[in-house]
C-alpha cells in the first residue's frame, strides 16, 4: 500500500489528507510538532479572548482521525532525505514515505531587529505563540502595556485580543494608515479610525528601531526610529509571515522564499509536493503573489493535489481571488482584485462609497477603458461569494454590478439595505466625471 506522508496538520495538509482518504485506501500519516490535532489557525485569537476553548477551534472530533485511518504523529522533522525517501525526527526515529507532501505553513517574519530574543517578544502564528501570549500577557496587572509592530491582519487580531484584557496597546505602523499595502486609502483610513476607537494607540508613520530588555532578559520597552521609548511587557511582531522551510536547508529540495513548485504542486524532487503557505509558485498565477499565505488558497491546493496523488492529475488552478477578515467589529470581504494605491494597475479605476456611520464602505474596481468589473472590497456589508464569482467570470460591467448589487447582499434578514444609497452615490459621481 502506498504510504503518503504529510508534514504539517494545518488546513492545507488536512484538506489533502481528507480528499486522499475519500479517493483511495492509501496509508496516510500526518506529522506535526505543533499540535495533536488539526485546529483553525484563524481562530487562535478567540481562545485568548475567552470566546472559545482550545477544543472548540478543532473542527473534527478526536475520533475522526481513527475512523478515517489518518495516522497522526507528533514529531519535529529535522531532515528530509529524499534519496532514501526518509524523514528523520528531532526526537529520534524516522519514517519512510512513497509520496511526501510538505505543508508546513508559515513562521513569523522579522527584520533582524535588536532584542528579538528577549522574553515577551513574539508573533501570533502557532499554538505555541498563543500559549506564550497567555504567559506573557495574562492580564493587565502583569502586563499593563504592549507594543505591536506592523499593521496587518495578524496585528489587528493581536490588538483586539490584548484589548479584551484591558492591556494598553501601541501599534507601530510604517505607513500613514492601517494596512495600506493591501487596501485603498479611504478604507485604510476608516479602519484606522475604527481601531483607534477601540482604545488602540495606533501610531502611523512609526517604525521599530530596537527592542530594549532588562537585566533578566525580559522586554522593557521598544525604541522607535524617532527615538521615542515606549515601555511594554509584550512586543507582538506582526510584520507578515514567511514560509516555514528552515528544516529543508540541507535537503535537495529546491527552495527560494518558499518551496519551489510547478502548477502540479510538484517540487524538483519526484514524489515530493508542497502546498499551502510554504509553497512558492515558480511562475506567479495571474495577479497572485508566488507565495500565498491564506487559509483558502491552502485549502484549494490541498483539494487539487489530492486528485493528482490519486491518479487524476489536476493543476492548482485557483479561480477568482477572494478573501475575508474582521477588524474588531468591521467585517471585510473581497472578491476579484481591488488594489491599494501603491499596487494599483494602470488600467484600474475605483468607485468608493462610505456609509455615514464610518463602519461600512465598498470599493469597486473596474477597467478604465471598457468598464469591466474587476473586483470589490466590502466592509460592514456581507456579500455573496457565488454571485461575485459569477459576475467576474461573466465579465460584467461596473454599471451592471451597481444596478444588481442587491442580488449579492448576504446580510441577515431585516438588516438595513444600502444599495440605494450606493447607487445614488454612483450616479452623482458619474455626472461629475
Amino acid at each position: 500500500m502506498e504510504h503518503i506522508v504529510i508534514i504539517g496538520n494545518g488546513i492545507s495538509g488536512i484538506t489533502a489528507a481528507r480528499h486522499i482518504r475519500k479517493l483511495s485506501d492509501k496509508k496516510i500519516t500526518i506529522i506535526s510538532a505543533e499540535a495533536d490535532h488539526f485546529f483553525s489557525r484563524t481562530a487562535l485569537m478567540y481562545v485568548y479572548m475567552g470566546h472559545m476553548r482550545w477544543r472548540d477551534i478543532e473542527p473534527y472530533e478526536n475520533c475522526f482521525w481513527e475512523k478515517n485511518r489518518l495516522e497522526l504523529k507528533k514529531a519535529y522533522v529535522e531532515t528530509v532525505d529524499t534519496n532514501n525517501k526518509t524523514l528523520h525526527f528531532k526526537e529520534g526515529g524516522s519514517i519512510t514515505y512513497d509520496k511526501l507532501i510538505i505543508a508546513t505553513g508559515s513562521v513569523t517574519n522579522t527584520y533582524g531587529w535588536e532584542g528579538l530574543k528577549l522574553n515577551g517578544v513574539q508573533g501570533l502564528v502557532s499554538k505555541q505563540d498563543l500559549e506564550n501570549l497567555e504567559k506573557n500577557a495574562p492580564n493587565n496587572k502583569k502586563c499593563p502595556r504592549s507594543v505591536i509592530v506592523g499593521g496587518g491582519l495578524i496585528g489587528v487580531e493581536m490588538a483586539e485580543m490584548l484589548r479584551t484584557r484591558n492591556i494598553e496597546v501601541s501599534m507601530l505602523v510604517r505607513e500613514d494608515a492601517f494596512w495600506t499595502n493591501a487596501l485603498p486609502k479611504t478604507e485604510a483610513e476608516m479602519l484606522s479610525r475604527h481601531i483607534k476607537s477601540h482604545g488602540v494607540n495606533l501610531r502611523h508613520n512609526s517604525e521599530l528601531d530596537k527592542i530594549l530588555g532588562d537585566e533578566n532578559g525580559n522586554v522593557r520597552a521598544v525604541l522607535t526610529k524617532d527615538g521615542e521609548e515606549i515601555p511594554c511587557c509584550v512586543v507582538g511582531i506582526t510584520t507578515g509571515v514567511k514560509p516555514n522551510i528552515s528544516f529543508l536547508k540541507n535537503s535537495e529540495i529546491e527552495t527560494d522564499k518558499g518551496i519551489l513548485v510547478n502548477r502540479m504542486l510538484e517540487t524538483n524532487i519526484q514524489n515530493v509536493y508542497a502546498i499551502g503557505d510554504c509553497a512558492q509558485q515558480r511562475q506567479p498565477i495571474g495577479n497572485r503573489p508566488p507565495v500565498e499565505a491564506v487559509w483558502y488558497t491552502g485549502r484549494m491546493m490541498g483539494e487539487a493535489l489530492a486528485q493528482t496523488i490519486c491518479g487524476k492529475p489536476f493543476q492548482y488552478n485557483p479561480g477568482n481571488w477572494f478573501n475575508s477578515a474582521k477588524f474588531f467589529d468591521i467585517e471585510y470581504q473581497t472578491y476579484g482584485w481591488v488594489f491599494s494605491e501603491s499596487r494599483k494597475k494602470d488600467y484600474e479605476a475605483q468607485f468608493h462609497w462610505k456609509c455615514a456611520s464610518d463602519l461600512r464602505s465598498i470599493t469597486i474596481s473596474y477597467h478604465k477603458e471598457n468598464d469591466e468589473f474587476l473586483g470589490i472590497n466590502t466592509f460592514g456589508i456581507r456579500m455573496k461569494h457565488e454571485v461575485f464569482d459569477r459576475w467576474l467570470n461573466e465579465k460584467r460591467s461596473l454599471d451592471y454590478v451597481i444596478q444588481n448589487l442587491k442580488q449579492a447582499n448576504f446580510d441577515p434578514e431585516f438588516f438595513k439595505n444600502y444599495e440605494k444609497e450606493i447607487q445614488i452615490a454612483y450616479t452623482n459621481q458619474s455626472v461629475i466625471v
Partner: protein
Amino acid sequence: MSTVQRNMSLTGKPPKTINIQQKIASALGLLGLLLLFLALFNLNFPNKSVWLSASLVMIAAGTIWFAAAAYIDKHEGIKNDGVYFKSLSSRGFWAWILGITITLFYVVLYWFPQYLGLVKDGDNTGIVALFDPLSKFLNGGPASQWFLYGTLYTIAILAFGIKFILKYRHNKYEKLRTFSVMFFQLGFAFLIPELMQRLNSESFKLPYYDLKNIWPLNYYNFEQYRVNEFISAGDIGLGLLLFGVASIFIITPILTYKYGKRWYCSWVCGCGGLAETAGDPFRHLSDKRQIAWKVERWVIHSVLVFVVLMTTAVVHSYLGNDSSKYWLNKDVFLISVAAFLTLIFAGVWIFKREELQKDARIGSIAYFVIILSLIGLHFASGKTLFLVNAENLRQSYGFLIGAVFSGVIGVGFYPIFGSRVWCRFGCPMAAILGFQQRLFSRFRITTNGGQCISCGNCSTYCEMGIDVRAYAQKGENIVRSSCVGCGICSAVCPRGVLKLENGPLEKRIDSNEILLGNDLDLMNYVNGK
C-alpha cells in the same frame, strides 16, 4: 428560571472589573430578591402590593441597569469576551450554585408549594401571599404558586430580553425576535389568560388557556376537564377548542413550511423565550458531540411517541362508545389516530425515504409497528389500550416530562447543560416542527461559498448543539430538525458565511466536496455537476 444571576458579570470583563454602576445595579436587584426571600420565610409585609411592586421593580430595574452599564458604552458588536473565563458562564462554582438554586426552586414549586405559602382552603401565607394583590388585580382571585411562577417568568423574559436587545443592538433580526418573545410572553402567556379568568362565573368557565401554547407542548390541552369546560362555554369555548386543533393540523404546518420552526421556537414560545433571554449567557454550554446528537434524536422522538400515546389514551378514555349519541366515539377516534399515523408514515417513506438516516428508519418502523399493534391488540382482545391505564399514563407523563424534564432539568440545569436542553432533547412540539422543518420547509441556513475558516464560533454558540461548522466548511447549507433559527451562528460568524433564509426547496442542502473559489473544472468534476 433565574432571577439570581444579575449579581454576576455576563459581559466582556471578568467579575472583579465590573464598574460602579454595575455594582449598584446588582445591589438593587439583590435587594428586590431579598424582599421575596423575606416573604418566603414568612415575614408578613403589611402593605403587600407596595412591597411586591417594590421587589419586582427592583429586580427588573437592577437587571436592566446592569446590562445597560455593561453594554451601552461599548461598540455595537459581538460581546463574547471572557465567556469561558467567568465562573458563571463556564460551569464554575457560581454556575453550580445557581443551577442548584433554580433546581430547588422548581422542586418546591412542583411538589411542595405549601413551603411557598400556598394554602388550599384559606388565606395564602409566605411568598404566595405577597402575590395575592397582583393576582386579585388581574384575575380577581388569590395567587397560586403558578401565578407567582408566571409573574417571575414573565419578568425574567422582559428584563433579560432588554439585556439581550442591548447586547445585540447591532442586529435587527435579534432585536425583532426578542421583542416578539417578550410580547407573546407578556400578552399571550400572562395577561390574556389571567384576564380571561375574569370572564368566568358560576355558569361560564373557560380553562386557563395560553393560546400560543400548542399541543403537544401543552400536553394537557385535551384532557377531559378542559374539553368539558371548552364545550360547556358555548361558542367561545368551542372556538377555542377548534383553534387548539387547528393550531396543530393547519396553522403550524403552514407557518413552518414558510419560515421553518423558528417562527415558534425562537419568536413565540415561552420556553424558547426564556432560553433566549435569561438563558443566553449559557447557550455555548450545549453538547456539540455527535453522540449527543444521536441521543437527542432517540430521546426527543421517544417523548413525542409518549405524548401521542398518552393523549390518545386519555381522549379515548373519556369518549363514549355509542356512535348514535355523538359521531366521535372511542372506535372512530382510535381508527382516525391509526389512519393519520399511517398516512404520515407512508408519506415519509414514499417521498422522503432517501433523507432518512439509518436510526430514523429503524426508529420510525419500530415505533409505528408498536403503536399499531397495541391499537390492534386493543381491538382484537379488548385489552386496555396501550396496556396501561390512561390516568397512569397521564400522571407519569406529567411527572416525568411535564415537570422533571421541562422544568427541573430544562431550566434548573441552564448553567450546566446550556439553555435549550428541554427544547433539544425533550420538547415533543419541537420534534413535530423539526420533523417538518427537516423534510418540508423553505427554511435553511445558507453557507456563503468558500468563505468558511472553520473557526468554530457558530458551533460554539449554537444553543441546540448543532455542529454548524461541519456543514459550513463543506459549503453545505444547514438543514437540521433541531435548528430553532435564533440567528446567533450568523451573528457571531466573523467572515459573513451564514444567513438564515426562506427559499425554494430545490437545492436546499447542496453539499460540495470542492468549495467555491477553486478550479471550475475540478469543482465540476468532483462535485459531479
